[in-house]
Amino acid sequence: MKKLLITLSLAGALTLSTSPSIAQTCSCASVPILGSMQLAAPNDGQWFLGSTYEFHDISELVAGSSTIPDQTGRDRTSQAVIFEASRGINEKWSVSALLSAVDHERQIDDDRAQASGLGDAVIMVKYSPKSISLYSKTALSFGLGGRVPVGEDDARRLGVPLAEDMQPSTGAYGGTVWAYWAQALNDSKGARIYASASHTQNGENDRNYQFGDETTLVFGGAYQTQTPWGFNLELLYRNTDRDRRSSVEIPNTGGTWLDIAPAVQYHVTESVALKLAAKIPVSRNLNDELQFTTKYAFRLSLSYVFGGNSPEG
């Protein structure tokens, strides 16, 4: 029974990887470098610590919805390490804090630009009126969060600030509302389907730049085997408004993306789990304009749950 509880707790926590995206979009593309955070909702008194490594290849040139050959020899990547700590305050309320470190690189032939440093921080409060347990097959959570620009947003080259999409931090405050629903499909709760929705409003930074507001929808399924292995498959819809500078919409930004994200997770111990997820574009419509966008992305997550109802506590 104790093992079943731990499994349920971890499965719930890791499934919540479909949580709000805090977009850092690109002035020439639209790339959510912090697009997939593990904002889990831990149980009462429980701690969740997570670390995620993300890699985005942003070298695909798309005109509207058609991929076209770029031929410039571009290699544009973004990497991020995201640290997260979540704590269950009681049965229904929890709080999460997140800090990111970001590295952007842009190489075209032999010219290389790079910037790295602290990115944005996020604090989110969640209310979970329903959780999947021995007595319930349904989970429901709502979250309200704020992004704080604690990091580097003035990386320069030749004395000139790099483009906004190359800055580790957005340099702007933002707010996110988020909702999550999950339904267990069997008594062991090992199989479930879930959905989440989020909307992020972005503020303006010191250079009067404002990343486009973003709405995401996620539909997914998760299956935790009787072994340490578990699997996820998600369909991700994302829509962002055009970025703005001094309130003027910037062409070649914003759009709609549909991605598929398969994932596999492995429980190293009862409390520590690894998860590997990929993001593969299905379709996109980038406002009928020419933009560089994500060719593929993957993330590797490590999570650790302790305290509360877990035996390790």
Binding site: T72, A80, R157, G159, A163, V248
Partner: protein, 363 residues
């Protein structure tokens, strides 16, 4: 249990450290990614230099593009805007819609290379000769903008060049001024009426761009700018095209809409120069030449109607074409001296030059 807890904690911290090293190894700061520091001396205010987003060479310059006869090319409509120049006696035409996606064309014969540039955000077209003292006289798109205008870089030294200032503003060639090439910016129908044997840059560029699609949304019709500029002047609509002449901090502009349906010549004084501005709103062309010849003669011009490409005559009986060449008369073959002039949007003239005067006809 405690030992197990400590082992898990250590495993977790070890893994986090590995992730950190993977993600941020070699990182830190911006500044060119580990290359030796580059000098940061600019002749222009870095406050108004911006990284446009695509990066250096992210907008690909063209090298010796393909051309087709103006009489057979099917991808250019009569009303399409083009830039034309004369190279070794041949009029070459560069359509705006291709220039929008490449901004720089390195062209010309080996012994007289030139670089044509067009900035979609300021509507300015400029060409200058390649410097044969340099092994590679070609230019690329730096990815940077100053006052919303293209900054080029030369491929040999990496120096940056302001298109509208026509000067190197950073790098080993700082302060160098290239030799400009006379351009005519007009519609395809006008240039083919002037020069039916002209050749036109084709869309066979080797780059898969949708040249039919304008890449900047409603930029041309909106009054909004995409980037901050150093100064603004609301005397004219921001995006209105005007041909202008500049010298140092001073400029004088002539609205393309102000010439009327008949070709018109304007004798004017700019700084110490006696100039003639010739233009026709209906035919959508304008050019500015120095009226003073090398022998000190200052010519007086009158416009010619309906004899394109010839656009003016003078009191000596010479007939001059739109490129400022005397095609007949006692000075046949003489070239009027080019001026520091080009066509650009009004906001750009106002941003670049502290003292920008607008010409208004006395009539």
């Amino acid at each position: 249990m405690y030992l197990f807890y400590r082992q898990e904690k250590s495993l977790f911290l070890l893994a986090i450290s590995a992730l950190l090293l993977t993600a941020c190894g070699g990182g830190g700061g911006g500044e060119g990614g580990g290359n030796r520091p580059e000098p940061e001396v600019w002749l222009i205010s870095t406050q108004f230099i911006v990284d446009g987003g695509p990066g250096k060479d992210g907008i690909p310059a063209l090298q010796n593009p393909a051309f087709e006869s103006a009489t057979t090319i099917s991808t250019v409509d009569p009303d399409d805007l083009v830039i034309a120049l004369r190279s070794e006696g041949q009029v070459k035409v560069y359509p705006h819609d291709v220039m929008m996606y490449h901004e720089i064309i390195n062209d010309g014969p080996d012994d007289a290379p030139f670089t044509m540039s067009y900035c979609p955000l300021t509507g300015s077209g400029v060409a200058w000769l390649g410097d044969l003292d340099h092994a590679d006289p070609t230019f690329g798109v730096s990815g940077l903008l100053y006052n919303s205008n293209l900054l080029l870089y030369d491929r040999e030294t990496g120096s940056h060049w302001s298109q509208m200032l026509q000067k190197s503003v950073r790098g080993p060639r700082i302060r160098e001024i290239p030799t400009s090439v006379q351009l005519i910016e007009t519609t395809f129908s006008t240039i083919t009426a002037m020069y039916p044997d002209a050749i036109v840059m084709t869309r066979d560029t080797g780059w898969g761009r949708s040249y039919d699609d304008y890449p900047y949304g409603d930029y041309l019709t909106s009054q909004d700018l995409l980037f901050d500029v150093s100064q603004q002047n609301n005397s004219l609509p921001r995006k209105q095209l005007a041909i202008g002449i500049y010298n140092g901090e001073n400029a004088k502009v002539y609205q393309l809409s102000g010439f009327g349906a008949q070709t018109q010549t304007i004798h004017d004084q700019f700084a110490s120069q006696s100039i003639v501005v010739v233009g026709n709103t209906a035919l959508n062309f304008a050019a500015i030449y120095d009226r003073e010849l090398s022998d000190g003669t200052i010519l007086s011009f009158t416009p010619i109607q309906g004899d394109l490409p010839n656009v003016m005559t003078d009191t000596e009986g010479n007939v001059w074409d739109v490129f400022g060449v005397a095609v007949s008369g006692p000075r046949a073959g003489t070239q009027l001296a080019s001026t520091k002039s080009y066509t650009a949007m009004w906001f750009a003239w106002a941003a670049f030059f502290n003292q920008t005067e607008i010409y208004f006809s006395r009539s």
